[in-house]
């Protein structure tokens, strides 16, 4: 035992510290509100007819319906995975409604003016740069409200350089050959329970295709929200960067306050061809539930990128502050020689939140490199698990991996767990994994205090430093929101 940990802090300080901590921990979810607009829902339940209904609604070609039905068949044979260190009540998949659209198809707006003002107001509250703000922020937003895309901006500007950025259903209609070629290529329907479920009933999502040699002129962004009670949201995102292309994709989400658990099982597939680069950033702030975790979102996401071509690169950055239960492992399959995979993550669990998250780096090509930086922060009764896998195949000559995962604990009731899996089959590979778990450094605090910083400023400084390595990776547009999110949930909480 070190002397530092044994030293009791002066008696006067903890009182103020605890008050600040309590206050911050008890802070209400700021983005919690419900938009009341007309919904067109399917009654709860899941069978072939549900799938046929969704497919027909979206006027999908026959092959896609077949694909969905096959996935449903697969899903029925599978059992829900329970290996993650999260606990939640049994989910009744037959009590969920698999289709909700905020507007009737025939009333689809032709321009922003026709959009339901309440919807716009919702976006307004969340600070989404959709209307006038779109040019200002320089962000193209494909906002998904429940299951149907409402509006896609900047389409023309992107079309000039040949970039396809549209909702998934539009892509099915307009670029079926691309969708057919890439759908399920990275995450097959048989991949896991939630992936099979998503494949059967996915409602909508985003589709991005960057043609060869094109550097996407702006950051692409989707804000999607869950709104209707009892409606699971099954997003499907497909991003393809052709040879030498570059794209940075931003995904952010907040959800209104609800009292019933909402299921979210999304799939994100990325494909990077030769010399292509995809940067995928996420800020996730779904409703985490109340102090006891009641009402929060269940977030079971399958995200995977394939570095198909030589010298391709895929980079995942995520800031996870929401959801009652998070089950998410953005991964990279490094197939091309000299391809690069990166994973940067800050995850925060407060109150009764549970997060089991991490990444998987599968090295197949020669001289492939991967970096994993994961920062976990647990407060209240939050449970946090980093679960990461690094696998070096026999053919991965000279592969290199560096993994660092640090956990910060705030309060004696939370938990932080680190479960790395390292499997190496090639002697020329070099792997390093390091991890630390501790509460905020007493000596660091002391040093800052001694230099005249207040307790709160000192804590904030240290915590920002703790997450900085990851926050630095975020695009400008997101960095502000991410810091705000962390600030709301964290800054005053440490001490």
């Amino acid at each position: 035992m070190t002397d530092v940990a044994n030293t009791e802090p002066p008696t006067k300080e903890p009182v103020r510290q605890d008050a600040a901590l309590e206050e911050a921990l008890a802070r209400k979810y700021e983005a919690g509100f419900i938009t009341d607009i007309e919904q067109e829902n399917l009654p709860p339940g899941l069978d072939e007819d549900t799938v046929r209904f969704i497919s027909a609604k979206k006027k999908e070609p026959e092959w896609l319906l077949e694909w969905r039905l096959k996935a449903l068949e697969q899903w029925r044979k599978m059992t829900e995975p329970r290996w993650a260190k999260v606990s939640y009540p049994e989910i009744d998949y037959q009590s969920i409604s698999y289709w909700a659209s905020p507007i009737k198809d025939e009333d689809r707006p032709k321009s922003l003016d026709e959009v339901d003002p309440k919807l716009l107001e919702t976006y307004e509250k969340l600070g989404i740069p959709l209307h006038e703000r779109e040019a200002l922020a320089g962000v193209a937003v494909d906002a998904v409200f429940d299951s149907v895309s409402v509006h896609t901006s900047f389409r023309e500007r992107l079309a000039e350089v040949g970039v396809i950025f549209c909702s998934f259903s539009e892509a099915v209609q307009e670029h079926p050959e691309l969708v057919r070629k890439y759908l399920g290529k990275v995450v097959p329907t048989t991949d896991n329970f939630f992936a099979a479920l998503n494949s059967a009933v996915f409602s909508d999502g985003s589709f991005v295709y960057i043609p060869p040699g094109v550097r996407c002129p702006m950051e692409l962004s989707t804000y999607f929200r869950i709104n209707a009670a009892n409606t699971g949201q099954f997003e499907r995102t497909l991003v393809i960067a052709d040879k030498g292309a570059y794209v940075s994709y931003l995904e952010g989400c907040t959800a209104p306050q609800r009292d019933e658990n909402q299921l979210h099982a999304a799939i994100v597939e990325l494909v990077a061809h030769e010399d292509a680069e995809i940067k995928y950033s996420t800020v996730q702030n779904w409703y985490p539930g109340d102090e006891n975790g009641k009402g929060g979102i269940y977030n079971f996401v399958t995200k995977r990128g394939l570095c198909e071509g030589d010298r391709s690169k895929i980079s995942w950055t995520q800031v996870e502050t929401g959801s009652a239960v998070t089950w998410k492992y953005p991964s990279c399959i490094l197939k091309g020689d000299d391809s690069v995979g990166e994973f940067y993550s800050v995850a925060l669990s407060n109150h009764a939140q549970q997060a089991d998250t991490g990444t998987k780096m599968i090295h197949l090509g020669k001289r492939t490199r991967s970096t994993i930086i994961s920062k976990g922060i647990s407060a209240g009764r939050g449970q946090q698990t980093y679960r990461g896998g690094v696998r070096i195949g026999r053919g991965a000559e000279g592969a290199r991996n560096y993994t660092q995962c640090d956990s910060l604990l705030i309060g004696s009731e939370c938990g932080a767990h680190t479960v790395p899996y390292v499997e190496v089959r090639n002697p020329t590979a070099q792997l390093e994994h390091e991890a630390t778990t501790s509460k905020i450094g007493e000596d660091q605090l002391f040093y800052c205090r001694q230099r005249g910083l207040s307790e709160e400023d000192a804590v904030s400084l240290i915590v920002n430093g703790f997450a900085k390595q990851v926050l630095d990776e975020l695009p400008m547009e997101f960095a502000v929101e991410a810091q705000k999110l962390l600030g709301v949930s964290l800054e005053g909480a440490v001490g």
Partner: protein, 378 residues
């Protein structure tokens, strides 16, 4: 007939506690059977070869040399059945249970020697180190065994100190389980050395059950040919002010596979804990494999915990340096591997360190030249 269908009933003369334990083991084996590759803890270690064989217990393969201060204890009850399928198999099939107790400061080591045989054996040992007592325990597993399924329970009472040296050399198929229970301010130091063997599996569990208990676990393993070794280490911090260190290093050559899985768990009751894990591996051939999984589970914020794991080849620059000084390639490799293996051996009593050194040298490239070099330097 499969192994599990041939489980013998317990002998008539057995004490009721042992009988109960056996029944419990029978039940567990009947419901769970032997592990498969789908069992998380046995993902990389296959015991499929065992299921077809009749592994009835043969004559004893264990010899005990107890120094003055260590005595045999007649005991009515034994501790509860430890977790794991092979601990259950041991309890179901064992016909030799030795219970020893050490008092005071014992200067001579307690020696246990297990020799391999062409039949299976299920030795079961329990060692109690009395309050304030000090002891060195040395276990040697030698010779090709059909199957040695050994269970060892160690109980350290308050303030006890135990140094445990376990040398597993070419021991055929060896599946061992060591569980340690530690009293207040007790200290447990382990040196686990695994040099070869067709299948070596060790489950080492340490419970820091009372305040101020500490443990220092060091290990070294080497596999070559088609050898397979698997170390599963688990430390539970259940009481405050516990300290644990795990330092394991290994080399995998030929088609050998080394598995290292370690857990450090700080329970809600185990505040002010310090837990460190380190695992370094050298992968020396393209057909060998290393699987490592050092994981931490922390349920308390008053904690300092860290873990590190590396897998890599010998450093090219160091090899080049040695070559440029006129040292042959083989010897240069030998020197570097030898240096790498040294860390887990530190703190080991000299007599055993020499023995391990000898075994290690035999497995290194240019072993003779290396041995000569060692003598010259000495």
């Amino acid at each position: 007939m499969s192994l599990l269908e041939t489980l013998p009933a317990s002998p008539k003369s057995e004490p009721p506690a042992m009988k109960a334990l056996r029944e419990q083991a029978h039940e567990r084996l009947a419901s769970e059977g032997l592990p498969t590759k789908k069992t998380e803890a046995w993902r990389f270690t296959s015991v499929a070869a065992l299921t077809g064989e009749t592994l009835a217990a043969g004559p004893s393969t264990l010899s005990v040399e107890a120094p003055k201060g260590v005595s045999t204890v007649e005991r009515e009850s034994l501790e509860a059945l430890p977790a794991g399928p092979f601990a259950a198999l041991n309890a179901a099939l064992t016909d030799e249970t030795v219970v020893l107790r050490a008092e005071g400061v014992v200067s001579e080591p307690l020696s246990l020697r297990y020799t391999g045989a062409d039949h299976a054996s299920y030795p079961r040992m329990r060692l109690e180190v009395a309050k304030g007592a000090e002891l060195t325990l040395v276990e040697r597993f030698e010779g090709e065994g059909a199957l040695t399924d050994a269970v060892l329970e160690l109980v350290l009472e308050d303030g006890a100190r135990l140094r445990h040296v376990r040398i597993q050399r070419d021991a055929g198929r060896l599946i061992g389980s060591v569980s340690v229970t530690q009293g207040r301010d007790s200290h447990y130091a382990a040196h686990v050395i695994t040099l070869g063997g067709a299948l070596q599996r060790l489950d080492l569990k340490v419970g820091l059950d009372a305040q101020g208990a500490s443990c220092d676990l060091r290990g070294f393993y080497a596999v070559d040919g088609s050898e397979h070794c698997d170390h599963h280490v688990r430390v539970d911090h259940r009481a405050p002010h516990g300290t644990s260190h795990q330092t394991f290093r290994g080399i995998a050559d030929g088609k050998g596979v080394a598995v290292f899985d370690s857990q450090a768990i700080v329970h809600r009751t185990g505040g002010h804990a310090e837990a460190h894990q380190e695992n370094r591996n050298l992968l020396l051939s393209s057909s060998a494999g290393v699987h490592t999984k050092p994981h931490l589970e922390i349920d308390h914020d008053e904690v300092v915990a860290s873990h590190g794991a590396t897998v890599g080849a010998l450093d090219e620059d160091s090899l080049f340096y040695l070559r440029s000084r006129g040292i042959p390639a083989d010897l240069a490799r030998g020197i570097l591997i030898h240096a790498f293996a040294h860390e887990p051996l530190t703190g080991m009593p000299d007599a055993f360190a020499k023995e391990v050194e000898q075994g290690l040298l035999e497995r290194l490239p240019a072993s003779e030249a290396l041995a000569d070099l060692g003598e010259e330097l000495a």
